[in-house]
Structures are given as C-alpha cells and as structure tokens.
Amino acid sequence: MGMTMTQKILAAHAGLEAVTAGQLIWADLDMVLGNDITAPVAIEAFEKTRHKEVFDRDKIALVPDHFTPNKDIKAAENSLKLRNFARQQAITNYFELGEMGIEHALLPEKGLVVAGDVVIGADSHTCTYGALGAFSTGIGSTDMAAGMVTGKCWFRVPSALRFNLTGRLKDFVSGKDVILHIIKLIGVEGARYQSMEFTGEGIGNLSMDDRFTIANMAIEAGAKNGIFPVDGLTRAYIRDHGSRAGKVYEADGDALYEAVHEIVLDDIEPTIAFPHLPDKGRVFGEFGEIAIDQVVIGSCTNGRLGDLRAAARILKGRKIARGLRLIVFPATQKIYLDAMKEGLLEIFIEAGAVVSTPTCGPCLGGHMGVLAKGERALATTNRNFVGRMGHPESEVYLASPEVAAATALAGVIADPRKIMGGSHE
C-alpha cells in the first residue's frame, strides 16, 4: 500500500522504509520552535534535566512574538527567560525585537524551513509550513523541551484527507476564503488527528501567500498538518529565502486517503466565519447587516505582503467608517518595511487605520486592540473562540483581507466586490 506525502516524510525521518497510519514512531527533527508563551515552560523543563546543551543550536528557533513588545512585567520576565536561554545556549535563531516577526511568517521568510523538513513548534499554527512541502505540526512545551534534548519527537502516523483543487479563484477571493470554505465543509474536527493533503492543478493558480494561509488553518479543522506538493513556485520561494535546498517528497499513486474532496476554486465565494467557531462560515446573502466596532488585518494567517496589498487596493483613497477602528499589523519587520516602501502603510494611515509593529497582539486578545464587553470585531486572524480577542462577551468574525478592508469602509460586514463597484481593474 502506498504512502501519503506526510507519511513519506515521516518514514524518512524515522529511518523506516514505510509507515502506516496509526503507527507510533520517533522522528528526527529539522527545527524546534517556541515563542514567548510556550518556550519559557519548555526552558524550565529543559533546565530540570541533566542535559547542559540543546541537541543542535542551529535547529532551534525562539521567537518572542505574542506579548511583545512586552505588554507587562510578567511578559517582560518571560521574554527575558527566552533571551537568557538563547544567549546561554548560543541559539542561532533567536530573533530579538527589531528583527522578529510573527513566528509562522518569520520562519519561512528567514529560510528556516524547507520542503521535506520535519518541524515541531510549541504553537498550534506551526502547520503553516506545510505550504512549503514540509511536515510541520504544533506540539506542547514538553514536546519542545524533549525535542531540544533529543532532537526527536514521537508521532502517531496520521491518515489523510485529500483536497483536490481545480480552477482559479475569482477576483477579491483569496486563500482565506478557500480554507474557511473547507473548514465549513468538514467542520472543526473534520480532520482530527489527520493530514490535510492538497493536490490538483488549481494549486498552480494559488500564490505562496494563499498557500501559507490555507496550511495555517489546517489546525482549525483539527488536522495534525496540512501539506502542499512542491512546484515551481515553491522551489522559487525556497531558493529566494532558504540556505538549504530541501527535499521533495511526493505521495504514492496508490496512497490511501480516508476521503477525497473536490474543491472548485471558481465556485468559492468570500466566506466569513461567524462566532464562535471557524466552521461557522457564511457567504454574502446568508446574513443581514452586522455592525462592526473593530477590524483587524494581520496575524500569521493574513499578515503577509500579499494580504496587505489586497487590503490596500480596496482602502486606497478611501476613509474607514466613522466610529470604526482599523488595526493593521504586518507579520514581520521585512513585511513592514516592504509595505512602507510600496506606500501601503501610507494608504492605511490615510484611510484612518493604526499600523502596529509586528506582534501577535490582538489576535489572541493579548494587547494592542483588546475588545470590551459586547464589542464585535472582524479579523483576518484564525480563531473566533469565545473571548479570543478580549471580553468573553465580545465577538470575532473571521474573513479575508479583502472582506476586512471592505468592512472597515462600510462599518458593517461588506462584500469587497460591491465596494469596488464591479471595477475589477
């Protein structure tokens, strides 16, 4: 019986000819990631062992991004713990404020993940790197600590769901709509313990930013990982960013999938996930007027340059609705700088937005835009759980940068195609 792409990568990293779904294996790790929330817990666990040194100082990435710039004293102390550990262990990939960014945008940008890698991160959205043809998955702090000691992680080999993409997205529809559509289709635990493997000629019509967004939210369907095949675009991305070449794995022709879903990209509409789960997707026409207090554009899901461009295209020369707050947070310093050079930041500020330094900030209700009781946000982030952005009685609606920009202008959840008046330039 053939193996899926994920199973092939795992087998190779476990030193096995073949693996099958359900098998428990130990796999070698190419990268171990942690942030300012999860790494301190892992560091404490690491320090309790008899090990003085991490398994490989080049294969650990530490990114203070959640509560940074430090929002309070406790956050500052956690960041300090990260910094001290990085110094003491001479960790190559520690990113201080000024060079950091949101971890899942930063690692691919810095070339730290390439095709064929096995990556664990003490952050659930580590699955983002599946866009590059790597196996990457979120784990907890103890896995991170054990990974830093041994360079290995235990896995139960996942079975897979296949999503066969065909066609091309319409204007003002993007990767976020694809993944919100898929999660609506299969539900928040539709892919639990499984891989989501994307295939089909439609992938060739998706930008790398779209693929990152799609892989990023695999976890919102409960998946262990989401993974894309490696094509010319992936190779170019890795060449432009990476220092390593990567290794391309392909699923066997007779690989076993638990189910195959046909996704026609042309049919996908702008999709908005209603409170309080990412699978509560609806399309325009299925809901009435919903007033919004705050729009957030950014995060590891949609804080890349392509996302900012998509929003700026709609906001250009326009003003956001009175009484609405628009917060834009580019995902990394490089994206921030590129957006500045391209004049995107100017477009945002002139439209009435605030532009934040790269941070997770509002995405997890941490800082830089926390919601009050009864407030409603529309965000390009990935989770709309109860209390995710602040008060337990606030609400979060998830959408694409295009819908977010249109909503900021209208003050109610708005269709970018209407706002742009059919002027599909």
Binding site: T38, D72, A122, S124, V149, L364, G365, G366, R388
Partner: protein
Amino acid sequence: MNKAGRVFKYGDNVDTDVIIPARYLNTTDHKELASHCMEDLDESFAREVAPGDYILAGSNFGSGSSREHAPIAIKESGVAVVIARSFARIFYRNAINIGLPIMECPEAYEGIEAEDRIRVDLTQGTITNLTKGEVYQTHPFPEFMQALIEAGGLMAYIKTWEGK
C-alpha cells in the same frame, strides 16, 4: 485503579481559551494557572474541584492553541482523569506528555451526569459509575502512552531513554 471522584461535565468543543484564557498566559506558575482553570466557562470550577475529581466532556475537548498551560491547569486542579467523547490532537499529546491521564469514551459521556461519582481503571479501560451502577468500556491506553503516563510524563520518560 483511581479512587472515586465527582464528575464535572461540559459540552463539545471546550477550547483552550476557556480552559485557561490567554490573559493568564503571562505566568507559568501552576497554582495560579489552576486558580483560573475553566473560568470563562464555569466560574465555580476552580473553587469546587477536589483532588481525584473528574472532567467529562463532549467532542473535541481542548481544541485551539498548543498551550500546555491548559492540561497543566487541569492537572494542578487535582483532576484525576479527563474523559471525553474525543480530544483535539495537541491537547491529547500534551496531556500524555505531562502525565495527565485522558480517555476517549462516548458511552461514558452519554451515561454519566454532572455530579455523579465515578471510578476509572486506565489499564483495563473501564469507567465505573458508582451513582448509577453502570460500567463503560473503552480502549485501554496504547502501551507506549501508558509507559509515558507511568513514568510521570515525557521528560521523565526520556531520562531513561538511550536514543531510539
């Protein structure tokens, strides 16, 4: 065999944001995390839970973030075993890695009510409802995971581990 304890019962999709809200993630202090456990869902939980009690939940328990603060807060509260119809995957592995036993058992979710007293046997995979006099059978833990739990979690397990 665990001792008898009281059941705290919750619904589907209890996510890590309600198990331990992000606003408390600026600490790693176990006691402080436990004092806010389940706060946004059940404000009385942290006050009422006693060592040896059980959490029983529906599908997809622990969905959301990878924060180990969630199983840590539950373990530190004294909860002996979390039983659910199903678990989100990161929570599943985090719980095993820190030595918090968990069990998937849809029948237990149907049969057991909040406040019932139950007793659990992990090696046999049995859950006994002392209040109703019923027994629910589920899969015993895979050997590898039982070894992790018995060792006291992943860190203790790799101590004795000479490379694999």
